[in-house]
């Protein structure tokens, strides 16, 4: 096995599991340390630069970082650091004035380039945030009355208070973005005709999938598409729902629908889903939140028909199924043969998925569409086949989430800036990286290397009866400062890397002996597969790299399995020659103009 090339920034980046898993690659441990230090505005700033909506995401993010967190691999009942809710601690406790003073300055003299953003959701707002400080003139179009896109129309207020959203949307719009709200764009060509230098399409996946089974037409008055229904609640067009509500679907939209129903008069709300409970798309914590509000989830039930009595919806019939998996793991839902199940209902909400919809893009506008009627978009540059038209967020590759939309927005902004500067959009800027020793003394590091044993802290909730009585009352109260500190201390500081220098090593084994998780081995250099069988402890997690040194004087190599390294720094403390050092690795995705 070849020595590890740590000069490739992706090697150490991958060791920072949370950051690597985050679509926007937010430097998570860096801001968690700042929260522990009580520097909330600084922590918020790091987030804001990277993910644009820390207050929103600190409440609603799909948090791909958390399943990746190294703490979750430490065995026992150990759970990941509550990264998402720590982000909220930074947002809740920042000093607003201090933060506003740090916002990038918008040049008075514009650069003469005009950009149109279609849709005012997270992707478009990110593009605006990145391009405004560079002197662009930006027009943003949206059919809603305010910015935010699905963050406004689909995420219920009890999860995301409107003030939090407004604040973070305004940070961007207040930089001088020209807004065209309540404006439905019905023709891409009409926008292109305005001679913008670039057009960014961030219109999301606006169409909720329907369920065409018997009774759909007759019961239409009480059968609703989930996302449309959520929007009508958010925009105060709808204030109540029937007492008995069935929510179809197993994703996060279904969870929002059922919990919203509970607040609008639904006493008997049920979620009914075709798949087994474990296969549901909703995040585990969103399922828990729903069940906490006394909403049962019926899995393995396939909807067969809407039952209409007296011209009105009376309920639904379901067929019971069970999941069978073939040798490739492909699932099929097979009827069990049991009697069909009838569930009475006054209203049914269909939340079985969302689709893209581009009726407003003329097929001769230069944007090519593929066999699934999706625009052909480059996955790195986000450019369509019309070089002036870029896509991002759900509009680009189908429904994802807010943080992915932000990541798209950053890259699209990079592309637009390159293109407007006459450069090749394929020449992506390298990430900014920095690697710096944290050594302060023999037993002293400039990070808190002590590993805390505390189990994950639970976010306190508002009183259930009060929460269910008020649609706008935020359920999660967030961590207070002291709990935020304790939770922040659980972070292992995986960005503080163990860096090995062969030339200094005397092969005394001190690091091997001290390592609490047996990550380190000195052994003969062989191929990786064989190497993994010869280490101090099992090294079966192939997703985690082995850090391999060059050949040492005894003809052995040093091998470190990154998998469960605690980043405690003891290898470096016990190293007599500083062949090991703990060095903080900062990795920032380069944004437009950087």
């Amino acid at each position: 096995m070849k020595p590890t090339d740590t000069s490739n920034p992706e090697y150490f980046h991958k060791v920072v599991d949370c950051q690597y898993a985050c679509p926007a690659h937010t430097p998570v441990p860096e801001y968690i340390r700042l929260i522990a230090a009580g520097r909330y505005t600084d922590a918020y700033m790091i987030n804001w630069v990277s993910n644009v909506f820390p207050g929103v995401l600190g409440r609603t993010c799909d948090r791909p970082c958390e399943p990746a967190c190294r703490r979750g691999r430490l065995g026992g009942d150990e759970e990941p650091v509550a990264i998402c809710r720590l982000k909220r601690v930074a947002a809740d406790n920042k000093t607003g004035d201090d933060f506003r003073a740090r916002l990038p300055k918008i040049p008075k003299k514009k650069n003469g380039k005009r950009i149109a953003l279609i849709g005012a959701g997270p992707a478009s707002l990110t593009v605006a945030r990145d391009l405004m400080p560079l002197g662009y003139s930006i027009d943003i179009y949206d059919n809603q009355f305010a910015g935010g896109g699905m963050m406004r129309s689909q995420i219920p207020s009890f999860r995301l208070p409107i003030e939090v959203l407004d604040e973070e949307v305004d940070y961007i719009l207040d930089t001088g973005v020209v807004t065209h709200f309540d404006t439905e764009v019905t023709s891409l060509q009409s926008i292109l005709d305005k001679d913008y230098d670039a057009v960014f399409v961030g219109t999301g996946a606006p169409r909720g999938r329907d369920l065409n089974i018997p009774g759909r037409g007759e019961g239409a008055d009480n059968i609703h598409i989930g996302i449309e229904w959520l929007a009508s609640v958010a925009f105060e067009h709808r204030h109540q729902v029937g007492k008995r509500v069935l929510v179809l679907g197993g994703g996060n939209t279904a969870m929002d629908c059922c919990r919203t129903s509970r607040r609008l008069g639904g006493d008997e709300v049920r979620v009914v889903v075709r798949s087994p409970f474990a296969d549901m798309k909703a995040s585990p914590w969103e399922k828990e939140d729903a069940m906490h509000e006394d909403i049962p989830i019926f899995d393995n039930h396939t909807p067969k028909e809407f039952v209409i009595e007296g011209g009105k919806l009376a309920g639904m019939v379901f067929e019971k199924v069970e999941a069978e998996y073939d040798e490739n793991g492909k699932r099929s839902l097979v009827p069990t043969g049991e009697d069909p199940v009838f569930m009475p209902a006054d209203d049914v909400l269909i939340a079985i998925g969302q689709e893209n919809s581009f009726p407003w893009i003329e097929r001769d506008a230069g944007v090519e569409f593929d066999q699934w009627d999706m625009p052909v978009v480059d996955k790195d540059t986000f450019q369509s086949t019309n070089p002036k038209v870029f896509f991002g967020g759900d509009a680009a590759f189908g429904p994802e989430n807010v943080i992915t939309a932000v990541a798209h927005g950053h890259q699209a902004a990079v592309s637009i800036h390159l293109m407007c500067g006459g450069k090749d959009v394929a020449e992506r800027p390298a990430p900014f990286t920095n690697l710096m020793s944290q050594k302060m003394g023999v037993h002293e590091w400039s990070y808190d290397n002590q590993v805390e044993d505390d189990p994950r802290y639970v976010v306190p909730l508002a009183d259930k009866s009060k929460a269910l009585a008020d649609r706008k009352l935020e359920v999660e109260l967030g961590f207070d400062k002291s709990t935020g500190f304790a939770e922040a201390e659980r972070c292992l500081n995986c960005d503080v890397q163990t860096v090995f220098t062969e030339a200094r090593c005397i092969e005394c084994d001190a690091c091997v002996d001290i390592c609490p998780t047996d990550c380190i081995t000195f052994t003969a250099p062989v191929e990786e597969e064989m190497l993994r069988t010869r280490l101090s402890a099992p090294a079966g997690n192939l997703a985690q790299d082995l850090y391999v040194s060059d050949v040492l004087p005894t003809t052995r190599v040093l091998v470190k399995d990154e998998n469960v390294c605690l980043h405690c720094g003891l290898c470096a403390e016990r190293c007599p020659t500083t062949a090991w050092d703990m060095q903080k690795f900062l990795y920032n995705v380069s944004l437009a103009g950087q």
């Binding site: 691999r73 430490l74 065995g75 026992g76 150990e78 023999v442 037993h443 002293e444 290397n449 002590q450 590993v451 044993d453 005397i506 092969e507 005394c508 084994d509 001190a510 091997v512 002996d513 001290i514 609490p516 998780t517 047996d518 990550c519 402890a537 099992p538 079966g540 004087p553 005894t554 469960v564 605690l566 405690c568 720094g569 003891l570 403390e573 016990r574 190293c575 007599p576 020659t577």
Partner: protein, 350 residues
Amino acid sequence: MSYQLPNFRHPELPVNELGYTRADYEGSISTLCAGCGHDSIAGAIVKAVHELSIPPHKIAKLSGIGCSSKSPAYFLGKSHGFNSVHGRMPSVATGAALANRDMIYLGVSGDGDTASIGMGQFAHAIRRNLNMVYIVMNNGCYGLTKGQDSATADEGSTSKKGDPNPFDAIDLPSLALNLGATFIARSFSGDKGQLVPLIKAAITHRGFAMIDVISPCVTFNNNPQSTKSYEFVREHAEATGTVDFVPMREEITTSYPPGSTAEVTMHDGSVLHLHKQEEGMDPFDRISAMNALEQHRARGDILTGLIYLDEDSRELHEVLETSQRPLNELDASDLCPGNRVLANINASLR
């Protein structure tokens, strides 16, 4: 500031027959200098005892004074321990071993503790073939008092701030061989592959088992002019052969070319495999062992591995024909069986 070890361990650590992981045999975090060979020896002891599936409470760690002798705090944290007076560990071990023959006695000593102040005690523990493991953590200097030459420092060897040593070294394996020790080995702290099976064999051996482990003092005696440095030892160590220890309960799976290997069955049924033995060297023959030691010494090499093993070793309890039950388990009725027994004894003498 790290004065304690994190509590997390690798989630898939192997468990031994008792259901314990290696972590159950650890001690507290070492306060020795970073890179000290003694820490590696501690690691090797932990590995050996874990793999032998010995319940921690069946072991007593005994030591004297010195860097070596504080190291028992850093391994087998759930075993018994006695940190005695400088050089007097063998006396304490003798007392303990006589009182309770069921325990495993693991003595840890240094070159000062053994070859200077404790020389007399060391000699008599060997002469009596006390059933114990005696590990010398040998760094050729007094590390605890800033690195003065010890009695095992080689002639001409120079420590970091010292002058060349004018005296010849006491070679502990040669001395032990001379005194009649029944298990003698030498190893190197930087070679766990060799050290761990030797420790296992020493623990299984019935009688006095000495392992002289060269353990570089990183702070005072790891400079290029020293013969106890990592570099010097790596360049000059020559193993008598490779040692594999197969516990009684395990199937023997390794096979070696015929003629190149010797097998020794230990008293508990475990098997010691010696292979790639040095030409002309027979570790079951005292004279051959003595020759090999002296020849290597004359060449300036360090002979490591198993040096001598007496398969017919009779330990102190066997020689003295003491009670099969440990003395500390005998109660008043055992020790004073009463007038009738006394009368029988008296009658037998008439």
